[in-house]
């Protein structure tokens, strides 16, 4: 893709936030690579920053083996978390803010110091974490019907939507991240269960991967930033009126709801 095509792709995704979802970029731009896609993502982030939004952290996606298999990849991907994507618990989500939202329970890291790759090891990643919070990520796709390949989701900010963060911090040293269990319930029904081990073997691996991947681009992770490392369960679709609860071992519970739409 040349620079003009990348800008056009970024514009079409930005437009989809306000209007209709678009077709897969991989069909519009046959030669699109993951590198093109990260540039397209970055162009949107630059626009959001120009509009006054602030980067508050990152998400790591494609951390589940089944998702990687579906997309034929062996690596995760990442997206940016902007300040307006972070939602308070108890603040209803609005269906009109999303295209085709799904929910995933995650263990969010909040960094106490900067960590800059490459060369970030698991102990380096652990040392950078101040505390963890329970989180519910609302994933979404500006590509119609989630017909995504790797380049589509990368370009679309790793299919980010919003993040609901809990408010009770827990120290990393008090947890076994791999074996921390979570039950995802929607409208009182258990729709998924899982553990931290579902995230690249451990969520801390996702943090190290992110620091190393961004480090190669000259970008560091900063103190105070949030990293959501990937889902403990399969994603579950959300409908108007859905009430979602994640119950974590040791981290407590977290609830969010999708506003009922007036007919």
């Amino acid at each position: 893709m040349d620079a003009a095509e990348r800008r056009a792709a970024a514009e079409s995704l930005l437009g989809a936030y306000r209007g209709q979802p678009i077709g897969p970029l991989t069909q519009t731009y046959r030669g699109i690579t993951p590198e093109d896609a990260y540039v397209i993502q970055q162009l949107q982030v630059e626009r959001w920053k120009a509009d006054g939004r602030v980067i508050k952290g990152h998400k790591v996606g494609l951390t589940a083996r089944v998702m990687q298999r579906q997309l034929g990849v062996d690596q995760p991907d990442y997206g940016h978390l902007m300040d307006n994507m972070i939602v308070l618990e108890g603040q209803p989500l609005r269906m009109s803010d999303f295209v085709s939202p799904k929910v995933e329970p995650e263990i969010a890291f909040v960094l106490g110091s900067s960590v800059v790759g490459p060369g970030v090891t698991v102990p380096d990643a652990i040392s950078a974490v101040d505390y963890v919070l329970p989180a519910l990520e609302i994933i979404d796709s500006r590509i119609a019907d989630w017909r995504i390949t790797l380049a589509d989701t990368i370009a679309d900010n790793a299919s980010s939507g919003a993040v609901v963060l809990g408010s009770r911090p827990v120290r990393l040293g008090d947890l076994d991240l791999r074996l921390t269990g979570c039950v995802l319930s929607v409208d009182g029904q258990v729709v998924g269960t899982g553990a931290g081990g579902a995230v690249l073997g451990s969520p801390i691996h996702a943090l190290a991967w992110l620091a190393n991947t961004l480090g190669r681009l000259g970008v560091g992770l900063e103190a105070g930033q949030v990293v959501i490392p990937g889902s403990l369960t399969a994603a579950h679709p959300l409908a108007p009126g859905s009430v979602v609860t994640a119950t974590f071992a040791h981290l407590g519970t977290l609830t969010t709801r999708m506003e009922r739409v007036a007919q």
């Binding site: 083996r65 076994d176 791999r178 074996l179 921390t180 269990g181 979570c182 039950v183 029904q189 258990v190 269960t193 899982g194 553990a195 931290g196 081990g197 579902a198 073997g201 403990l232 119950t247 974590f248 071992a249």
Partner: protein, 260 residues
């Protein structure tokens, strides 16, 4: 052709197990084969195992995920019998030469401290009867081709029971929140699935209560000292010769089984 009867069902399933061959669903050939008949066949199958020297040591619960129950049109788990011949001691490989197409699933395992007889058993009452909780696994092995069966087929087949193993850590059920007790399912060092106890009927005690009530209606009681496999927490994974499947629990330790 011999008429289909409960005894013929038992004959055919026993032969399939002994000769290590799978078969098509009996429901395809025996139109009147219903759930009640299937449980009669399951009980008779176990009576024959007991007559040949095996001892009943507990029960296993099957179809404990609500999604699977909805697909099968039921609202409670299946039950089946465990005998001492099904126990795999720690470190002993699963005998691949005697199994048809074994698959492994992680299980939360109860050992009962007192008898439990339905109907009328609640999850709270069921939990009271549990003395110890273990982490374990079941090696399931259907006598049907590709694990394809209808409900009466799998019930008569003792719910695909094969072998099972129990991990090294015993905990009091009162010390653990089983709904969030997590398990990692690991095949040759790669985590292929994760789940918590809530995947089993919302909570394994709910599954136990439903099972005790179902058994009670058929005139059976769960006995003190019995083992209860509460149901697969994840989908089952194939066990291949030379391969090792491990289950790692938050509070209930780790255990492994290899295809030998």
């Amino acid at each position: 052709m011999r008429q289909w009867t409960v005894d013929r069902v038992v004959d055919e399933l026993s032969a399939a197990e002994a000769e290590r061959r799978d078969r098509g669903p009996i429901t395809d050939e025996y139109p009147d084969f219903d759930l009640a008949t299937a449980y009669l066949a399951q009980d008779r199958l176990i009576e024959r195992k007991v007559a040949s020297g095996e001892t009943i040591i507990g029960v296993k619960l099957g179809l404990t995920s609500r999604a699977k129950q909805t697909r099968m049109g039921i609202d409670a788990p299946l039950t089946a019998w465990l005998t001492d011949a099904m126990v795999l001691p720690a470190g002993e490989p699963a005998p691949m030469a005697r199994l048809i197409h074994p698959r492994v699933e992680p299980e939360i395992v109860f050992v009962l401290g007192e008898d439990l007889a339905g109907p009328g058993v609640t999850a709270a009452r069921a939990m009271q009867a549990v003395e110890y909780v273990y982490g374990g696994y079941e090696v399931i092995d259907s006598r049907y081709q590709d694990f394809k069966f209808k409900l009466p087929d799998v019930v008569a087949d003792n719910a695909s029971a094969g072998r099972f193993g129990i991990g090294p850590v015993a905990r009091s059920p009162h010390d653990i929140d089983l709904a969030v007790e997590a398990c990692l399912l690991d095949v040759d060092g790669e985590i292929v699935d994760t789940a918590t106890g809530a995947a089993v009927q919302g909570h394994p005690a709910e599954a136990l209560a439903l099972a005790a009530n179902g058994l009670g209606r058929r005139g059976h009681r769960l006995k003190a000292g019995w083992i209860v496999l509460t149901g697969g927490m994840t989908d089952a994974v194939f066990l291949n010769p030379g391969s090792t499947v491990s289950v790692h629990f938050t509070n209930l330790g780790s255990t492994s089984v290899s295809g030998g």
